[in-house]
């Protein structure tokens, strides 16, 4: 039972904190988010040079052999910095699927350049009807000689518009909600018959809708065994949920700090609004929500690092907490900032929007509480 960081972890956290503190203020972030790609390629290359893109990968795969704890350290600080560079989409989602399912050749072709920051990738799994049911896949892939023929649609594919390669899930067997029969395919973005509708998201990130009809994919581009992709997607989904929860905790913490600071400087009726007891107690509740959320984040992350049997329960507990406490902290931060809290100009509004997005990603609070209420 030890909450302390080891030396490598401490160095990693310090370097991320240094980057956020020195090179990533809010105006810079807004500039990157508003650029054509929606993020900074330079910053992304920097992440690769610093080795941050290699964190969750084994040394055999060209990574550092780190795990959930190190990813948590990165993401919590990315939350504080409101980082828009697509770490979740490239490293946790696409990288997580490649790490788990790709063959040696596929890793050499796709994972190495991904870790190297040379290509962008995206995992295309969610569909318009699937909501949070991971196994609900209506897209189909039919074997045809040395190829598969894919038909279907994919929803809100994170980083989908920037990706050089898309990891598309499709059903090679089974019924629409079966866990078995789902396969994953590597599809270059410039493939014929692949239609990508890109758009920004409300939190300053990028996503896309995909649709594909009679899209032909070489059988060699299948990731892992046919029909066995659910376990891969399930593992990736847990990693990604942990990652966005770490980001959310960072956001909740800085929103609380900024709200307390604002309440000390904002004068109304001749006194700082932070002197009003009703607001004081609400800010104490915000702090409490942060502390409790951070505790669950540590619990769930350490379980995941141990590959403990309770990991899934912990991930759902954490996501429920983030969905509820995150909403509360975000809404209170905006409310206590008053009119300023709902302006585009102030960072508070953008933290709030990111928290809202995270609340809807990978299962909302209700979904995860239902999973636990048995």
């Amino acid at each position: 039972m030890d909450f302390a960081l080891n030396e490598e972890q401490q160095m990693l956290e310090d370097s991320v904190a240094k980057f956020i503190g020195n090179d990533y203020d809010f105006d810079t972030r807004q500039g990157y988010a508003g650029s054509p790609a929606g993020y900074s390629q330079d910053v992304w290359r920097q992440f690769a040079e610093l080795g941050w893109t290699a964190v969750p990968f084994s040394e055999a795969d060209g990574g550092f052999g780190y795990g959930p704890v190190e990813v948590m350290l990165l993401l919590r600080l990315f939350g504080r910095g409101l980082v828009v560079e697509p770490y979740l989409a490239n490293i946790v989602l696409a990288g997580g699927a490649l790490r788990r399912a790709a063959s040696a050749e596929q890793k050499e072709q796709w994972l190495e350049p991904l870790i190297g920051g040379e290509i962008q990738a995206a995992l295309a799994h969610v569909e318009p009807q699937s909501r949070y049911e991971l196994a609900n896949v209506a897209s189909t892939a039919v074997a045809d000689g040395e190829h598969y023929v894919l038909n279907g649609r994919k929803s809100v594919v994170l980083n989908g518009g920037n990706a050089d390669v898309l990891l598309i899930s499709a059903r090679t067997a089974g019924g629409q909600a079966d866990t078995s029969g789902i396969s994953l395919f590597l599809v270059p973005a410039d493939s014929d018959k692949l239609n990508v509708r890109r758009y920004p998201t409300v939190d300053g990130h990028q996503a896309a809708e995909l649709d594909f009809a009679e899209l032909r994919v070489p059988a060699t581009h299948r990731l892992g065994a046919a029909g066995e992709a659910f376990a891969v997607l399930d593992g990736v989904n847990d990693d990604a949920t942990l990652a966005v929860c770490a980001e959310a905790v960072g956001i909740m913490q800085i929103m609380t700090e900024k709200t307390v600071e604002y309440s000390k400087s904002r004068i109304q009726f001749g006194v700082p609004i932070g002197s009003f007891q009703a607001l004081q107690h609400r800010m104490v509740d915000m702090l409490t929500a942060c502390e409790q959320s951070y505790s669950l984040l540590l619990w769930a992350t350490m379980l995941a690092a141990d590959e403990h049997a309770d990991t899934k329960q912990a991930v759902s507990s954490l996501k429920y907490q983030i969905g509820t406490a995150g909403k509360k902290v975000g809404q209170e931060a905006v409310q206590i900032h008053g009119g300023m809290g709902v302006t585009w100009e102030l960072d508070i509004a953008h933290y709030f929007k990111r928290l809202t997005s995270i609340g809807q990603l990978f299962g909302n609070a209700d979904f995860h509480l239902d999973r636990l209420a048995v």
Binding site: P200, V202, Q268, G270, V342, N364
Partner: protein, 400 residues
């Protein structure tokens, strides 16, 4: 004690409903249902449509163009208005400055301003808040100094809704700084937005739209004839405005309409998946909001009944605003939860007229849910934040 409407009231409702169903502009309703923002011209066209039927100022005294309706009639009218998903009536002219002018203005001002307000010929905006004074309105600093037959106005107003649409602005300005109480020395002034020295700077709000503005006044010369009522009495007049916002302050009818639409949406199955309506946890949440809304509807009806019985509005009226906004925001959250992953796409352009349908993202309007949710966080902040409302109830109702 009973719930039934009289024959006359039902007849009145049916007439209103008949008109709305047969004469309300289809294109405006279509834009509303599609989630499309309403342009300045369409907003004016809508309000003129009401004016042509004598419905643009239902709360005004008959002599100035009001209806003389009973509280129940007004309630039924607002219900039918919500049933066609009509736009909100812009309140600054018809609900705010109009009543101040016919209550405290002189005959010249009444003749000059009221008809154009009634007909929506002139677009008004409200100059109350300032960068330094939000909840603490009495600390306002905008000055109006007398210079011959003009006031010279200097200062800045902020959060001015649709000032970039407005022809005129009504302001609370300080005409006397040498006063005992800060509430004294404040005057109610009408200013032509075309006056030299008036400039409007946009404020982009959280969801990315230009809805509010900063309005700067630099040596703006305003004829003394534009002063409403007595110099230094502006604070009193400003507070009187609130009296005229009672009806529909809680937006009960709009919330009922939105909840019903949400239930319809939740009942629809998307591409063979189970409809959201089969999710017990979600439906419990929805039912709880529906209960709170039903309670609010009757709290409002009790208020209206008390008022029309000549009584002063009881404590229940004071809670209409903050409960009403809490419910509106709770409904916004339900729409976001229903959208799921489609709460993320930021595609406001697709709700503009003429956007290519094949480019639309998401089912129906689900990608507009989060934008509405973000934008409407303002509802518990403006018009006297919910904290201020609770302070008022604490002081004036509970005597604390």
């Amino acid at each position: 004690m009973n719930l039934t409407f009289t024959e006359e009231e039902l007849g009145f409702r049916d007439e209103i409903r008949h008109v709305f169903e047969n004469e309300f502009p289809d294109d405006i309703r279509a834009m509303r249902d599609a989630g499309t923002g309403i342009s300045r011209d369409d907003q004016i066209r809508f309000q003129k449509w009401l004016f042509e039927r004598g419905w643009s100022a239902i709360n005004w005294p008959v002599e100035y163009g009001g209806t003389g309706w009973t509280a129940v009639q007004k309630y039924l009218f607002m219900q039918e208005l919500a049933e066609v998903n009509a736009p909100d009536i812009v309140p600054f002219g018809l609900s705010m400055v109009g009543p101040v002018i016919y209550t405290f203005g002189d005959d010249a001002q009444k003749q000059r301003f009221l008809p154009d307000i009634l007909e929506s010929n002139v677009w008004w905006c409200q100059g109350y808040s300032e960068p330094g004074s939000g909840s603490d309105l009495a600390s306002l600093k905008t000055r109006a100094d007398l210079d011959g037959d003009h006031f010279v106005v200097n200062g800045t107003k902020t959060w001015t809704t649709l000032a970039h649409y407005a022809d005129w602005i009504f302001c609370l300005v300080r005409t006397n700084s040498d006063v005992a109480r800060r509430q004294e020395g404040i005057s109610f002034l009408l200013i032509d937005m075309q006056s030299p020295g008036v400039s409007v700077k946009p404020i982009i709000t959280i969801e990315g739209e230009r809805e509010v503005n900063e309005v700067h006044f630099e040596d703006v010369r305003v004829p003394v004839g534009n002063l409403v009522g007595e110099e230094g009495k502006g604070w009193t007049y400003g507070k009187v405005l609130l009296q005229h916002e009672r009806t529909n302050i809680a937006a009960v009818h709009q919330s009922k309409y939105r909840l019903r639409k949400l239930k319809e949406q939740a009942g629809r199955s998307v591409r063979g998946a189970a409809p959201l309506a089969e999710d017990q946890s979600y439906m419990r949440r929805l039912a709880a909001v529906e209960i709170e809304l039903k309670a609010l509807e009757f709290t409002e009806l009790r208020t209206l009944a008390a008022v029309s019985a000549g009584k002063a509005p009881g404590p229940e009226s004071s809670i209409l605003k903050f409960v009403g906004t809490e419910i509106q925001q709770a409904i916004d959250e339900l729409y976001v939860e229903a959208a799921g992953y489609y709460a993320l796409p930021f595609v406001p352009e697709q709700y503009a007229p003429g956007f290519a349908q094949e480019e639309r993202v998401g089912e129906g309007n689900e990608t507009s849910a989060s934008l509405r949710y973000f934008n409407f966080r303002k509802a518990s902040i403006y018009g006297g934040s919910n904290e201020i409302q609770k302070n008022i109830v604490s002081k004036h109702v509970l005597g604390l």
